[in-house]
């Protein structure tokens, strides 16, 4: 009985560990893998959209930040990952004329690789939704259609903010 219990426990432990590993591995939204550590990336810009009441910070990996700070973004260099982190816009309690992040909505990413992502204009497109970061899996068509107005600036809306050197 004791041996049977131990074996059963080991079996279920194995299943749990395996599911966790699979969840990590399949954490892909459309084309790109989850960019671990993006929460600590430096900023490229910010934006506020009044049509859907959201406020956003635009972050970048090391390659993207170097490109942004030196103004080399048309085109963005291969290896750049740009992240757009989106919150519901809310009024600041202590300053009526200010808005700030409320509920977290999603984090969106574009990864540049002109060869790998040749079919989608040089970019891999992805979105992870909610605080539990559920991958968006409805295809990249919706991303690309929305970004079409900025195809002449390498498909990116964001113009890097000017930072002092």
């Amino acid at each position: 009985m004791k041996t049977w219990l131990t074996l059963t426990t080991l079996f279920f432990l194995g299943v749990v560990i395996n599911s966790y590993a699979s969840a990590k591995k399949t954490n892909i939204s459309q084309q790109i893998s989850y960019p671990d550590g993006w929460q600590r990336w430096a900023s490229i810009a910010i934006s506020h959209r009044t049509d859907n009441n959201t406020i956003r910070v635009i972050l970048g990996n090391e390659t993207a930040i170097k490109a942004a700070r030196s103004g080399q973004t048309v085109p963005w260099p291969d290896g750049s990952i740009i992240g757009k982190v989106v919150w519901k816009d809310t009024q600041l309690k202590d300053w009526q004329a200010a808005t700030a992040p409320g509920a977290f909505i999603h984090a969106e990413f574009m990864e540049k690789d002109s060869k790998k992502y040749k079919e989608s204009y040089g970019w891999g497109w992805a979105r992870w939704v909610g605080l539990d970061q559920k991958p968006f899996t409805n295809g990249n068509r919706v991303c690309i259609e929305c970004h079409t107005p900025v195809k002449n600036q390498d498909w990116v809306f964001t113009k890097p903010a000017r930072f002092p050197q």
Copy 2:
């Protein structure tokens, strides 16, 4: 003549090097030294002020980011430096209902040290203005007065945005 010229050149070279070193050393706004490398710090939040048409990203050094992400910010721990980077708000050309950073205005910092800055509520207050980062030297009274409405949240307006783990 040649020796005299060489000596004069060396003298002026010395003066130039020395002035440069002094400029670096005295790059202090009111209470705190220039926080080198803040341009690569991670984000704590963002804000948009409609009363003065500015858009801001709030950044933090390592200590501040750790505190922000774990919700330990009343009070902020000693060693925290919070930076507020302010741009003129401008309409995005390619998305009418969005605003984004225009001209850079200034970068403001609060450095927490409950002993060193005991006289100014535990914080050192500073601002560097324009892309050439000219130190603001009109005293910290103006900073403190503006922040008085939030003295109960350790003098900081910013409530850290929620980030996925």
